[in-house]
Point group: C3
Chain length 281, copies 3
C-alpha cells in the first residue's frame, strides 16, 4: 500500500516536470517570493495577481488556483471569491491555505464565505487553523500552530478524527501539517512522517507547502495523492537541505537557500526512497 | 562597433558606482525585495513607495522611475500615472515593465493608458508582453514568455521587426528579453547573447533586469546603451553565478544568492571581456 | 557600566529564547519576508496582518507591535493607528520605524498622527528620519540616510543632542542607527559601535533592526536596554556574517544569507564578548 502511493506520487511528480502547469496564486506579500521560487524550482510556473478586475482571466489560463489568506484585506477577499467561482466554472482545482484562521473574526468570516461559495479541492493548514475551520474553537497564535495543537503521537487520533470528519463534511481533501502530517478525503487517510524541525525556523513553510499542493493538483485528479505529494516534496527537500548544513555556523538562512536547491534537484526516486507514509482506509 | 558599445557600457557602469543614483520603483510585492537588493548590489539606491498621495514627491528626488505592472491594482495604476507625469515634467527617465501584458484586459488597458499619457524612456518585456503592447495579439502565459514566443534564431528577424517598429511608433527604446535579447530605438538595434537558462528557474529575472535598466538610465542619456547595460549586467552576473554552482546539489536557491553576489562584484572590465553583443544600424 | 548593560542584554536575549514572544507587524512588502525570518531566527514568532478589520485582534494576542511606514498607504495608516491604540490599551510595547520620514508630506503627517495618538515605546530611524520626526528639516533620500546626516564622530554630539531632546519631548526611547548607533530615553544614552558597512549593501537592515527591537521589547521593560539589544543582535550578527565571506567572489547575496544564519546561531555570550557599547548618564 505505502509503496503504491509513493509510486503514484512519483508519477504525479513526473507530470509536473512534463506539463509545467501554470498555478495562479492570490497570496500574501510576506512569502509570495518564496512561493513563486518553490513552484519554479519544482518545474512549474507560478503567477500572482490579486485585483478583482483581472483574477478571473488569470484563472482561465491556469491549471490550478491557490488561495492564501496570509495578508488578507477586503479587496483580495473579493478577488479570492471571484477567482474561486471562475475556477469552479472551469473545473480547475482550488487549494486554500486559511493562514491565521481562528485569529480574527475577519479571517474566520472570509474563510467561511469561501467555503460556502466555492467548491474547494484541498484545504491545508496547521492543527490550529483546521480546528478553527472545523468550528472547534482554537487558540491560533498568529501563523504558527499553537503548542497545544501540535501533532504529538498522543494527539494523532484526535487530529485524524478532525481531519476525516471535516473532509467528509466539506467534500474536499483536508491536510493538517505538523510533526506528523495527515491528509484525508474522508475515505482514505494518509500519515506522513517526513520533515525536520528546521521548518519552524523559517517563514513560509506552510505557504510553500500549499503552493506545491496546488502544483500537484494541477496535473492529476487523485487529490489525496496530490496533497500528499506536495507535503512530501517539501518535507523530503527539507531533510536534504538539513543534510547540507555541515558548517557549525549554518542556520536558517542557509536552510532556506538549500531548501529551494533541494526542490530544484528533486527526482521521482526521492519520493520512493525517502517517503515515510502510512495509508489507512 | 561591438567593442565601442561595450566600452560605452563600461563607462555608464562607472557612472552608477560614482553617482549612486536613487531609483524610484512602483512595483509588485513578489519581487520587490529582489529588485531592491539588485539595485543596491550594483551600487545605486532603490526606493519603493506606491501611494498616489506621495509618489510625485519620491519621483522628485529620484534620478529614474521604474514602473512594474506585476501585482497591479487600481490604486497603484493611479500612482503609476501620477509618478510618470511628474517624471516627464522633471525630465527624469521612465522605464516600464509591462508584466503580464496580454493576460488581462485590465493590464492591457493600464499599459495603454500609461503609454498614451507618459513619455516612456524604455519598455522591457518578454516577446509575449511586447507583442501585446504592440497590439499583435499574444499568448501571454502569466509572467513567462509563451513557448511560441521564445527568441529562437528562427524567430529573430520577426522579433527584430517588432522591436524596431514599436520603438519607432512609440518613440522610446524597446527591449525584448529572451534567449537572445534585442534592444532598439528604431535606428540602432542591439542583440545580446549572454545569459543562462537558470534565469528561468527563479522569479524576478525580468523585474530585476528592468530595475537595472532604470538604474543605468539614471546616469546617462544614451538609452539604447543604458538598456543594453542593464541586460548585460544581469546576464553576465548570471553566467558568473552559474560558474559558482560547483556542488552537484546546488540549484536555483544558490543561483539566486550567487546572482546578487556577482552583481555586487561586477567590474567594468566584465562587460568588455564577456559581453556578446552585435549592433546593427 | 558597559559590562553591566551587556550582561543585562544577554539576559533579555535569554528571555526571547525562553518566551518566544509573538510580535505583530504592520509593515512594508519590500522587507516583510526578511523581518519575518530574522524574528524567527532569533527564536521569536512574527505575525504580519494589516487590515483595519483585524489588526486589533492580532495585537491582542501579541507581546509587541512593530509599525513600519515602508510602503505606507491610507489603509495601512489607518491600521497602524487602530493597532497602536489597542496596544496602548493593553500595555503592549509599540515600536515605530518611520521609514522615509521627511521624504513626503503624507509620511510626515502619518508619523505625526501616530506620535500624537499613540504612546510609543521606541522610535528607530536613521539620522535623516529622526531629524524629520524632530521637525528639524532633513534631506531624506529615500530610505537611506542622507550623506550629510551620517554619524561621523564629528556629528556625534549633534546627534546625541537630537536623540536626547526628542526622547525627552516624546517620552519614548529614540534610537538613531548609523556608523555609531545612539539610544536614549533622555536620561540614559547608549552608544554602540558594532556593525559593518556591508549592511548598506542590502535592503531591510533598518527594518530588521526595528523588528528585533520590537522582539526584545516584548520580553523586558527596560526599553533602552531592549533597543540596544536589538541593534547589537543585528550588528554582531552582521560582523559574524562578514567573517564568513571568505570567498573572493562573495558579496551582498551571501551576506544576507549568513546574516540570518548568524542571528540563528547567536548566543548570550556573543553580546558580552563582542559588544562595543558606551553608556553615559
Amino acid at each position: 500500500m505505502e509503496q503504491g502511493i509513493l509510486h503514484e506520487i512519483s508519477d504525479i511528480f513526473d507530470n509536473v516536470k512534463r506539463l509545467k502547469p501554470l498555478v495562479h496564486h492570490i497570496t500574501n506579500y510576506v512569502t509570495a517570493n518564496d512561493c513563486a521560487n518553490i513552484v519554479l524550482a519544482i518545474g512549474a510556473s507560478p503567477v500572482m495577481a490579486d485585483d478583482p478586475e483581472e483574477v478571473d482571466e488569470f484563472v482561465s489560463m491556469s491549471r490550478a488556483l491557490v488561495i492564501n489568506l496570509g495578508t488578507l484585506n477586503k479587496r483580495t477577499a473579493e478577488s479570492m471569491l471571484r477567482a474561486g467561482k471562475k475556477a469552479n466554472e472551469l473545473g480547475i482545482p482550488v487549494v486554500m491555505d486559511p493562514v491565521g484562521a481562528g485569529a480574527s473574526s475577519f479571517r474566520n468570516r472570509t474563510a467561511e464565505k469561501i467555503i460556502q461559495n466555492i467548491k474547494l479541492t484541498v484545504i491545508r493548514g496547521n492543527m490550529s487553523e483546521i480546528k478553527a475551520i472545523a468550528g472547534l474553537g482554537s487558540s491560533t497564535r498568529g501563523v504558527d500552530a499553537s503548542d497545544q495543537d501540535i501533532n504529538t503521537s498522543k494527539d494523532l487520533w484526535y487530529a485524524k478524527n478532525i481531519c476525516e470528519n471535516l473532509s467528509e463534511r466539506l467534500g474536499c481533501v483536508i491536510a493538517i501539517t505538523g510533526a506528523t502530517d495527515i491528509v484525508s478525503d474522508g475515505r482514505k487517510t494518509v500519515f506522513i512522517r517526513n520533515g525536520d524541525k528546521m521548518f519552524s525556523s523559517i517563514t513560509g513553510a506552510g505557504c510553500m507547502c500549499t503552493s506545491l499542493i496546488g502544483t500537484f493538483c494541477a496535473v492529476c485528479d487523485d487529490y489525496v495523492a496530490a496533497a500528499s505529494a506536495g507535503i512530501l516534496a517539501l518535507c523530503i527537500s527539507g531533510e536534504k537541505a538539513v543534510e547540507k548544513l555541515t558548517r557549525a555556523d549554518s542556520g536558517s538562512g542557509s536552510f532556506r537557500t538549500f531548501l529551494i536547491d533541494s526542490v530544484f534537484g528533486l527526482q521521482g526516486r526521492d519520493f520512493i526512497e525517502r517517503g515515510k507514509i502510512d495509508v489507512s482506509l
